[in-house]
Symmetry: C2
Subunit: 379 residues, 2 copies
């Protein structure tokens, strides 16, 4: 261990204003709940918190699905859980790919032995629903059709309703990635007809990372329970065995991250107090303000017109700016984190998140002020 590491303490870390693609800022009351002394995972008091979290998650997801809970892992764990439960080797999976997270779905599905049919679109654009429906027409026996509602790598807002309506009554499970969507824009699982929908807590929900809210429709649970020829290869993520803990049996499955559930409970209370409609409106208003302010300074949208997410805006920088070094100045001198680009967007864009507790005028003002002080946009 180096001498300097001995001096490193969490208390001495410089706080940042988190305006990147997540994690997002966490409110003081959620941080207080996080730091409540832990309870046991079988304590009746904790089980009441857990039940209440699941009930409130149903509200945010817009679903009556019985199997609605939070996976003990980050958003990627939710993606992994969705696919490992749904897919068996040899299954066909139709996956929309217009950014990094679509690509990851493909990678995960392939590792599980699925035959993947990709429906691609340029990064920053949505995938036209008719193209997805057309692909399903060619592969009607596909086990899974997966779309990313809020593509965190590009800021694109993928429409879901037409595809969902098309898949109703089919044997295909509609898998929706709502990692950056949930709590920021309407997800409406039941209305859309999503069969498995997963998210993360560190985006528009306003909890630190480490949990992945997920919901399975009765159709999905039938497909997993009786529809599989082989057991789910992952014991940890198996959606049927976790039910013995979540349900009235209360049988020990694994020790869930107690304190993260405390924080999630408090964040969901905040959401219910604000109301979903007001929360979506707030995210919409802040996103528009940001685009207006940075647009006036020469930033231009990376995302297809009219398809941008309010909670995550991807922007090209004015002039021939070196985004990485400017981003580093923004972080180190102004204490503000924004994200850079991934994959083909690397070096080309900033991704600015205004999510959850961070979706405020103060956030926009602080960013705009820093951009002005850095002399950006005056070229």
């Amino acid at each position: 261990m180096t001498v300097s590491s001995l001096d490193l303490t969490v208390g001495s870390l410089t706080p940042r204003l988190l305006l990147g693609p997540g994690p997002s800022p966490v409110s003081p009351r959620v941080l207080r709940a996080l730091a409540h002394p832990p309870l046991g995972h079988l304590d009746p008091q904790f089980l009441a918190v857990l039940d209440d979290v699941n009930e409130r998650l149903r509200g945010v997801f817009g679903t009556t699905n019985d199997v609605t809970y939070a996976v003990s892992g980050t958003g990627s764990a939710g993606m992994q859980a969705a696919l490992v439960n749904a897919l068996e080797p040899g299954d066909t999976a139709i996956i929309g790919v217009n950014g990094y997270f679509g690509t990851r779905l493909v990678e995960m599905a392939r590792r599980l032995g699925a035959n993947v049919v990709q429906v691609e679109a340029e990064w920053g654009r949505i995938i036209e629903p008719e193209r997805v429906i057309e692909a399903h027409g060619k592969h009607p026996g596909a086990r899974v059709l997966a779309l990313v509602q809020a593509e965190t790598s590009t800021g694109a807002w993928q429409p879901l309703h037409e595809v969902g309506a098309h898949l109703r009554g089919s044997e295909t499970l509609f898998v929706v990635d709502a990692v950056t969507a949930l709590g920021g824009i309407p997800v409406e699982v039941d209305q859309v007809g999503a069969d498995i929908c997963y998210s993360a807590t560190q985006k528009c929900i306003g909890t630190p990372p480490g949990l992945s809210p997920i919901t399975y429709s009765p159709k999905a649970m039938r497909a997993i329970g009786q529809g599989r020829k082989t057991p789910v290869t992952s014991w940890y993520f198996d959606a049927t065995v976790i039910g013995t803990y979540l349900g009235p049996e209360r049988r020990y499955h694994h020790t869930v991250p107690i304190n993260l559930f405390f924080a999630l409970h408090e964040a969901l209370r905040e959401i219910d107090e604000e109301g979903l409609a007001s929360r979506f409106e707030r995210h919409g208003r802040m996103g528009a303000l940001l685009r207006e302010e940075l647009g006036a300074r020469g930033f231009t949208p990376f995302t297809e017109t009219g398809r941008g997410l309010p909670q995550l805006t991807a922007l090209r920088l004015p002039g021939d700016a070196d985004e990485a070094s400017l981003r580093s100045v923004l972080l180190n001198e102004h204490g503000i984190e924004v994200g850079g680009g991934l994959g083909p967007a690397k070096g080309k864009i900033w991704r600015v998140g205004l999510m959850g507790h961070g979706a405020s005028e103060e956030s926009v003002n602080r960013l705009v002020e820093a951009v002005d002080r850095m002399g950006m946009g005056r070229a």
Copy 2:
């Protein structure tokens, strides 16, 4: 949502003294670190915390293994990660089973398509090393041989050195479950010759649940990297891809549970300040005190003589006591949590954990006082 759920807040939960099989009590300074406002997972400040956590984990594990980190999930996630990386369909896995967690290893390995050879012993007893070595003699090509060092369901302390010495130079990977061991008794990965060893943070490390420290030997990494015929089916747990984030490349893999890492960092600082030897001594002393005090009140050891873990003691209750209702009184009227039995030990035992911050005389005294007030042991 019921009316009562609207009133449920984390702040109003009654605190408990956690003397069960985990989670264990968390110190105020670790809770403070937990509640530090989050940083981004690519922020240089956070990466310094992460590096320091990994370095300190090497110390606690007793290893120089480069690939040492904390999986973004609970202890069961560590078990899942170990097996999904090591095993391919058709591989042979020799697994020691003398309690619940051995049984779970078998279940996980089977789901991954392995042929499992079980070396069984009665619950509460250790598995004699010569029987394990004998099983390996019959299956020298086994890919994995797994033992649970601290069987949380029975309190048995499994010896590892003879088996480890036997496996050196073989192609078999020695997998060690140190979930309840790490930080409470010596694990000594390198000395033992363990190839994959995983743990959890909510036992003797003193952090809330949600992370699973793990370490892979160079032999294990070769077996995973070049030795596999098929890719690791789990993208989330793949030990080779996570390296792109942990290593100098710093490429985004997934958003790790930032605040749990803050807490783990502080807990590891506490461990380094106390010193491992003193910490083991403290756990040993408290375990002995507990056995003495409860022994004097008619509790009798469930675990084989001389094989009990200091940090987790499994005891039969005096007389024909109904353990579940007494345990409920202990929890609800005295605010103390202990664990009941699992599987064949259900209804027969209490499992008392004195782990991490909870391994103190005050814990023992409070428990003994409550037992006396409840009129137990005076029969």
